[in-house]
Amino acid sequence: METSKLRHKPKENRGFALIETMIAIVILAVGLLGAAALLAQLTSTSSTSRYMSTEALLASEKLDDLNRLPSVDPAIAVTTGNSAGSLNADLTATVTAGAVSETVDYFDTVQISSGNGSIMETVSGKDALGNDIFTTTTHAPDGTVTSVPSNTPPAATPDMLSFKRRWIIEQNVPGLPAESRRVTVLVLLQNGTHGGQFQTSMVR
């Protein structure tokens, strides 16, 4: 007790100096600005999650699209080795399955825009002769929906989102029945910075 008494006594308490107070205020203000910046960050995070949810939809759409084809279709046949297609590069191959020989793309692009008074979704692909084909589905407010193929890609608009899809078809996957095939689809946002990527698989 004596010691503590001695230590305190000679010290003179004089409150904060102005400079000390100002430093404290600046620290506080920096903290507040940080909180504001956090809100701005929130905006970009939520747009990332929105793109991700679109990517998830596009991936499942492609899976169902491939599942629509009978198992003998060149587009989902695995004729050499244990896989067809790639998730790392845009692959194109000529596949002969049964009596049918076709040029098959293992990738496509999906362009979505809401300009011009309608929702447009363009999916690229190949027609029966192996030419590039762009199928645009347009949905207008009055309930008009058209699905129109074209040989040229749609004109870019400022709000257009462009997604790349790649897929791979594998057979003889360890742990799966011998007759089954595993289809994996990868979706990437091509323009914009908050895209991320999404990947999903299905066994048939």
Partner: protein
Amino acid sequence: MRTQAINYKRKTSRSKQHGFSLVELMVAVAIFLIIGGAAIGVVKQHAPLFTTQQQQTGLDIALRNAAAQMQIDVVNAGTGYYQGVNIPSWPIGVTIINNPPATSCFDATTHTYGPTCFDAMNVIAIDSNTPPSNPQDIGANCVSTTSSSLFITPIGSTTLTQLASDFHDGDEVLLVKSDGSQMTTTVLTSDGQISGGKVKLAHNPTGVNGVNDGSTGSNTDPLGISSTSDNNKLGDQFCKTDWVLKLAPIRYWVDASDPSDPKLMRTQNGQDNVIAEQIIGFKVGASIWNGTTADPYSFDASSYSHDWSLVRAIRVSLIGRTNPSGNVDEKFRNTFDQGPYKIQALSVVINPRNLSMND
């Protein structure tokens, strides 16, 4: 006691304390107010953004929920028929009612949507609580659905009483040939009755070839299975090896009775459920399988002659909007219909897996 004494002593010993001067304090407070005010300004700028984000997230979740529900239902389209009812080429999974586009359905000034902007879709499922039965008139091998009553025979251990109690006035039944080559549908006009060692079903007679286009009065088909004569899978003659199945369809449609808030509805067993509100687009297209190549999705069922057995996959295009009355930015107009709300579109491809596919 001793401690208290020391504390007291310590306090009183601090006689010379300097706090802020008034001027210093005012300068400090002024600086704090300026910087703090600026920070609050930044936060305030983001506040409406936050509301908008919340609304958009809500819209996103609503649309995804609706799509998920449809996927579950459509994937199972055509299921629920029994072991023993082995129909190799099951003729029907979904029916689609495509409304022709109509500019008048959408009011660009009030941003309201009428019923003709939307399609409807029926998922044709069989009631799994009602056992299948064979159609056969008394003293004959076959029945014709152009008459107003048909007789059915239970199969297996099902008794006449059990079978009769499964059918009620207003039920819709599907008659289908054992090889799936022909079918028709009819609505019952009274409950099932036991008569002459069979169950008698009184029903609205169909037209010739099992067409229910309303041409002979009561022969209407709310599901659109047989409402046009162009479907080549329709017929009116069914025999004792064919099947009578009670339908338990699921209908997706848009209730636009309040044009400022069209709602996506799901109706099953006469019960309406709201799946999503503020739906401003619901169209259903079909991918038609003609044996060689898949065409682009067709949003006009007459282009494939309402031949539902050709439907390989369906594509649902859904558009929703945030609540127009909850708009926080007065000047905002979307590029779709120039309305003061955000919109989101979602399209999904679904395969009715139980349709007759070649694999």
